[in-house]
C-alpha cells in the first residue's frame, strides 16, 4: 500500500493533555494548579489548531505562570517529594541529586532521553537557584518550571526516521503519539522504557500496548473529550438562549445535556463495547433530574445523580441527534436552524460541507405570519436557484429535526401549524429523527466518516490524498470489528498510516 502522509508538524499539547501529563509527572496537588491557556480549534478540532498556530506573548506568559505554580506545588507536596526526587539531598547544592532528578523527570517530561548539554543547562539553573535562595528545593522548583515551559514538553515533536521510503516514527515518538491519542496523557515511564527497548517498532507491539492503554481510566476521558469536540459540545454551557422564550435554559441544564451525551458515549464505547452506530439509534439514554423534567421522563431516585432511562417513544426520539445537547447547540438563541443542524450532520457524519454564500446574496426569510413553519419559510427561500443549490441538502436534513425546538424540547406544531419532519438523503426518504438516525447508522460512508474524524483529531490534520487508501483499508478493519470504537482506536494506532509521517516542509 502506497502511503504519502501529511508533513509532520509540531503539535502543542491540548489543555487537558497538559493537565493530565502534569498529574502523571508530579501528582494531583501539582495538577490542581496547572492552568494552561484555552484551546482553539480549526477545521473542527483543537488538535488541528495546535498543529498550526505558533506561540505568542500571551501564551508564553500563561505557560510561565502555570509552570511556576505547578513547580511550587510540586516541591510543597511533601508526601510525594522524595519519590519524585529519587535521592536525598545532603547539601544545599547537591549536584548528583539534581542530576538524578533531571535524568528521570526531564526524560519523562520531554518524552525522550536528554543529551548532556541539556542536562548541564538544567543543572546550572538548579545550582544558581539553590545558591541564590539558599535552598536545595528552590533548585528543584526552578528546574521543574523550566522543563514545563520548554517546547520539548509543550509540543509533540514527530520527525521520524527514513525506513523503506517512508518516515517511520521512532519508538519513543510512537509512544508519545499513541499515548496522547488514546489517553490524552504523555507516555508513562514504563511505556517510554518499552519504546526504548524496541517494543513499539512493529505493528504487533503497538497493538499490544494500545490494547492495554485503552483499558486505563484516562482512555475513557480521552474518548469522551474527543466526542465533546466532535459533537461541538465544548462551549454548550455558554450558548445564548432567549430567557423569555426559554426560561428553563441555564448553564446547569446545559451541563446536564452535555453529561447525557457523554454518558451515552461511554456506555456504548466502553461499558457495552457496542457498535458505534448505536449512538445514532439508541432508544435509551441517561438523565439526571434536570433532564428528566426536560424530557418528561421519570427522574432518578433522589440519592442517585444519573440513571439510565428509556427515551419517550411518543416524541420519536432516538440517538444523539435527538439529544437536547446537540439540538440546543445547533440552533439560534431565539429559534431553531435547519441550516445549522443540517450542516452539522453533513460535516460531522457525511464528511462534506457547504460552499460560502455567493456575494450579495439575500438570505431573507418570509415572516412567520405568511409561512408558519420553518419548512414553509425555507421553501420560499429555495425558490431562488442560487440558494437552493447549497441549502437543499443541509436544510432538508435539518428540517427532519424540527420536532425539537431551540433547546431540544419536543413540539408537534410551530405557530399553530403541524410540523412536517420528513426528508430525503441521496434518494432515501425518512420521517423524523428516528428514521434519519437509522438511515445514517446503516450507511458505511457515515461510519467511515466517523473514523476519519477520529483520525483528524488523533493526528492534528485533515486527511490528505496520500492517506486515502490507507484510510479505506482502516475502514475495512473497522467494519470487521463490527464498528466497535475500541477496536478502531487500537487499529488506528497500530496502522502503517499512524506510524508514519511525511517529511516536514
Amino acid at each position: 500500500m502506497v502511503i504519502n502522509p501529511a508533513p509532520a508538524q509540531m503539535r502543542r499539547l491540548l489543555g487537558r493533555q497538559y493537565v493530565q501529563t502534569v498529574r502523571m509527572l508530579l501528582g494531583d496537588a501539582a495538577a490542581t494548579v496547572a492552568k494552561p491557556p484555552p484551546d482553539e480549534q480549526l477545521n473542527g478540532f483543537q488538535s488541528i489548531a495546535a498543529s498550526q498556530f505558533a506561540m505568542n506573548d500571551s501564551l508564553v506568559r500563561n505557560y510561565e505562570a502555570s509552570a511556576r505554580d505547578v513547580a511550587a506545588a510540586a516541591v510543597n507536596d511533601v508526601a510525594n517529594l522524595d519519590a519524585l526526587l529519587g535521592c536525598t539531598p545532603v547539601t544545599t547544592i547537591d549536584e548528583p541529586c539534581y542530576r538524578t532528578f533531571i535524568e528521570r523527570f526531564a526524560r519523562n517530561a520531554f518524552r525522550r532521553p536528554l543529551v548532556e548539554e541539556e542536562i548541564a543547562d538544567l543543572l546550572d539553573l538548579g545550582r544558581q537557584s539553590a545558591r541564590q535562595l539558599g535552598d536545595f528545593y528552590a533548585g528543584i522548583e526552578y528546574i521543574i518550571a523550566a522543563v514545563l515551559q520548554s517546547p520539548s514538553f509543550l509540543f509533540q515533536v514527530e520527525v521520524g526516521e527514513e525506513h523503506d521510503g517512508v518516515q517511520r516514527l521512532t519508538g519513543i515518538e510512537m509512544a508519545t503519539r499513541m499515548s496522547f491519542f488514546l489517553t490524552d496523557t504523555g507516555p508513562s515511564e514504563v511505556l517510554l522504557d518499552a519504546a526504548i527497548a524496541g517494543e513499539l517498532d512493529n505493528a504487533e507491539g503497538v497493538r499490544r500496548w494500545a490494547t492495554e492503554l485503552i483499558e486505563q481510566p484516562t482512555a475513557r476521558l480521552a474518548v469522551k473529550s474527543f466526542f465533546e469536540e466532535y459533537l461541538v459540545l465544548t462551549d454548550l454551557t455558554t450558548a445564548a438562549k432567549d430567557p423569555n422564550l426559554f426560561p428553563e435554559w441555564s448553564p446547569e441544564l446545559a451541563q446536564s445535556m452535555r453529561g447525557e451525551t457523554l454518558r451515552l458515549v461511554e456506555d456504548v464505547v466502553f461499558n457495552r463495547n457496542a457498535p458505534i452506530h448505536e449512538l445514532l439509534t439508541a432508544t435509551y439514554t441517561f438523565v439526571d433530574s434536570n433532564l428528566a423534567a426536560h424530557y418528561g421522563v421519570t427522574p432518578p431516585a433522589p440519592d442517585v445523580g444519573w440513571t439510565r432511562a428509556s427515551l419517550p417513544l411518543d416524541q420519536g426520539r432516538a440517538g444523539i441527534l435527538s439529544h437536547a445537547s446537540i439540538l440546543s447547540k445547533q440552533a439560534h438563541a431565539t429559534s431553531t436552524s435547519a441550516t445549522y443542524r443540517g450542516l452539522f450532520i453533513m460535516e460531522r457524519f457525511l464528511c462534506t460541507t457547504m460552499p460560502p454564500p455567493p456575494p450579495d446574496v439575500n438570505t431573507e426569510l418570509p415572516p412567520s405570519s405568511e409561512a408558519p413553519t420553518l419548512r414553509e419559510r425555507i421553501a420560499v427561500h429555495q425558490e431562488v436557484a442560487s440558494c437552493r443549490a447549497c441549502h437543499f441538502k443541509s436544510d432538508n436534513l435539518g428540517l427532519s429535526l424540527e420536532n425539537f425546538d431551540a433547546i431540544g424540547r419536543y413540539r408537534e406544531t410551530e405557530n399553530g401549524a403541524t410540523i412536517d419532519a420528513s426528508g430525503e438523503l441521496d434518494g432515501d426518504t425518512f420521517d423524523g429523527v428516528q428514521e434519519l438516525g437509522a438511515l445514517l447508522a446503516s450507511r458505511t460512508d457515515v461510519l467511515g466518516c466517523m473514523m476519519r474524524q477520529l483520525y483528524r483529531h488523533g493526528t492534528g490534520h485533515v486527511e490528505v490524498d496520500g492517506e486515502r487508501k490507507a484510510l479505506d483499508w482502516l475502514e475495512h478493519r473497522f467494519a470487521e470489528s463490527g464498528y466497535r470504537m475500541k477496536s478502531m482506536l487500537v487499529e488506528i494506532a497500530a496502522s502503517e498510516l499512524f506510524r508514519t509521517v511525511g517529511v516536514g516542509q
Binding site: E40, A54, A333, T353
Partner: protein, 472 residues
C-alpha cells in the same frame, strides 16, 4: 504652561527598565510622559516628539449605509443617525465612504477582516469537507506598526475584545484583528479582570530575587527552543522563532521596573447578566478605561479592539421590542444572535441592525471621549493617536464589500489632515490605502514603510499610495 493631568491618569515618574537578559544588559524606557516632557509640555525633554498611538476598533456585521453615509461631503456635513454619537468628537473624526476592498469576493466577514487589517487575501482552510476555516496570509498592519513603535514599551501591542459571543469555529481571521503571520494570531483578552492583571499585576518589586531566576529559567527554555529548531521543518522553525520572540518579550517584562501608574481599582463587572446576555455597554466602559490607562502610561502604543465579533452573535439586550414602538407586536431580538438578525432583510430586522449600529458607535464615541479627556502635552491623547474604526462588511444582510463603514479619528500628532469631515472616494479607492495611511501616521519616520498588502495572483490588496484624503 503644562496642563494638570486628571487625577486618576496621573503619569508615573520616569523609569528605566534595567536588567540582564541572557548575559546582555537591556535598558528599556518605560512610561512617564509627564517626567519625560519638556517645560512646555509639548515634546519629550530628550528632544523627541510625543509618542503617537494606533488603535484599531471593529464592530461586527456592518451598518445600514442609508443611515450611515452623510449626504454632504466636507467638514460641515450633517451627522446621520448612526454617526450622531460622535457629535462631541466630530472634529477629530474623518468619515471615509466609498472605499472598496479589493481582496473581497470569497467569503463575507473573512474578506473584510483580512482586507483591511492585512491587505491580503486570507488563506482558506477548507480541506475535504471538513468545517470551513481561514487564517490571515500575512501580518496585520497594527503589527507592522508594533514592530516599529512597540520595541521599547512594556507590551509591544495589546489585543482587547468586549463581546465574548464572537465566532470561534471559523479560524483566527474572525477571532482577532492582530496577526503576526499566518500561524500567529494574537488573541484578544476579553475578560476585564484578566486584562487588569495583565496590565497592573504583573510587575515584580525591583528587589525580588525571583526576577533574575525567572529570567534564567527562560534562558533554559530558549536553549531548548534553539536546539529543537535544528530538528524540525521550515514551517516549524518559523513557529519556534515566534516562540523565541515571545520568550524574549517576557524576559524583558520580568526585568522591568514597574511604572508608577496610578492603578485603578480592579474592575468588578460580571461577564454575563442574570438573563444570560452580556452587559455590552458596561463591559465596553471598563475595557476602554483600561486601554486608555495602558496608553497614557505608555505601557503600549498599539491596541486592537474588537467590540463585537465579525459574524458574531453579540446580544443587544438594550433593544427590546419596547424600543421599537413603530413596529407593534415586533419580535423580541434583545437576546438574539446579532449575525442572524443582520441577514434578515426585512423592515423591523434592519431597523434593529440600524439601532444596534448606533449602540456600537456610542461605544466607539465613549472610547474617543476617554482619549480626549486624557491630557498630555498641550493637547490630549486623541491629538496623538490614529484610530481606525471599521466593520467587517459594509451591510450585513448581503455581505456587501464596497463602501465599508470607516472612521479615521485622532490627529496623530499632526500627521492626519484636519477638517476633512466626510470624504467620499470618487474612484472606489482601496481600503488598504487607509491602512497604509494609518501606518505612516504613527511610525516615527513615515518613509520607513512604503507599501502594504499583497496578492495571491487573483485578489490584490497591494498598495504604495497612502490615502491622500487623510494623511497630511
Amino acid at each position: 504652561m503644562r496642563r494638570k493631568l486628571p487625577h486618576e491618569l496621573k503619569l508615573p515618574r520616569r523609569t528605566l527598565l534595567r536588567g540582564v537578559v541572557g548575559g546582555a544588559a537591556a535598558a528599556l524606557a518605560l512610561p512617564t510622559l509627564e517626567a519625560m516632557l519638556n517645560d512646555n509640555g509639548d515634546a519629550l525633554a530628550r528632544g523627541g516628539e510625543l509618542p503617537r498611538r494606533l488603535l484599531t476598533w471593529v464592530f461586527g456585521n456592518g451598518c445600514r449605509l442609508d443611515h450611515w453615509v452623510p449626504s454632504q461631503t466636507g467638514p460641515s456635513y450633517t451627522l446621520t443617525q448612526e454617526l450622531a454619537p460622535i457629535s462631541s468628537v466630530r472634529d477629530y473624526c474623518r468619515i471615509m465612504s466609498g472605499f472598496r476592498n479589493y481582496v473581497a469576493g470569497r467569503r463575507g466577514h473573512h474578506d473584510g477582516m483580512a482586507g483591511i487589517m492585512s491587505g491580503r487575501p486570507f488563506i482558506q482552510l477548507d480541506p475535504q469537507g471538513a468545517p470551513y476555516a481561514s487564517k490571515f496570509s500575512g501580518e496585520s498592519f497594527d503589527q507592522i506598526v508594533a514592530d516599529i513603535v512597540g520595541v521599547d514599551t512594556y507590551f509591544k501591542s495589546l489585543q482587547v475584545g468586549v463581546s465574548k459571543r464572537h465566532l470561534t469555529n471559523q479560524g483566527p481571521t474572525l477571532m482577532t484583528m492582530s496577526h503576526r503571520g499566518p500561524d500567529q494570531p494574537l488573541n484578544a483578552e476579553r475578560d476585564p479582570q484578566a486584562l487588569f492583571d495583565k496590565l497592573f499585576n504583573s510587575f515584580l518589586p525591583s528587589d525580588d530575587p525571583n526576577a533574575a531566576l525567572r529570567a534564567s529559567t527562560l534562558d533554559a527554555v530558549l536553549m531548548d527552543a534553539q536546539r529543537l529548531k535544528k530538528r524540525v521543518s521550515a514551517t516549524d522553525q518559523a513557529r519556534l522563532d515566534a516562540h523565541l520572540e515571545a520568550i524574549f518579550e517576557l524576559q524583558k517584562q520580568i526585568l522591568a521596573i514597574p511604572p508608577e501608574c496610578d492603578v485603578p481599582p480592579k474592575p468588578d463587572v460580571d461577564p454575563f447578566l442574570p438573563d444570560g446576555a452580556e452587559p455590552l455597554v458596561e463591559l465596553n466602559e471598563v475595557m476602554a478605561k483600561l486601554v486608555v490607562m495602558a496608553l497614557s502610561c505608555d505601557m503600549t502604543r498599539v491596541v486592537s479592539y474588537m467590540f463585537t465579533g465579525p459574524s458574531g452573535g453579540a446580544q443587544f439586550h438594550m433593544l427590546p421590542p419596547s424600543e421599537f414602538p413603530e413596529f407593534p407586536g415586533a419580535k423580541d431580538y434583545s437576546h438574539a444572535d446579532h449575525h442572524q438578525i443582520s441577514h434578515f432583510n426585512l423592515a423591523y430586522e434592519q431597523e434593529f441592525i440600524h439601532r444596534s449600529t448606533i449602540v456600537s458607535v456610542q461605544a466607539f464615541a465613549h472610547m474617543l471621549e476617554l482619549f480626549q479627556s486624557t491630557l498630555e502635552g498641550d493637547g490630549n491623547l486623541l491629538d496623538n493617536s490614529c484610530i481606525l474604526m471599521f466593520s467587517d462588511v459594509a451591510e450585513g444582510w448581503n455581505h456587501s464589500e464596497i463602501d465599508f463603514p470607516i472612521i479615521v479619528a485622532g490627529h496623530a500628532g499632526g500627521r492626519l489632515k484636519q477638517d476633512v469631515g466626510h470624504f467620499r472616494s470618487p474612484s472606489e479607492e482601496s481600503v488598504t490605502n487607509i491602512s497604509l495611511a494609518c501606518i505612516k501616521a504613527v511610525i516615527p519616520e513615515p518613509d520607513q514603510v512604503d507599501q502594504f498588502g499583497g496578492s495571491d495572483g487573483t485578489y490584490d490588496g497591494f498598495t504604495s499610495t497612502p490615502c491622500a484624503a487623510v494623511l497630511a
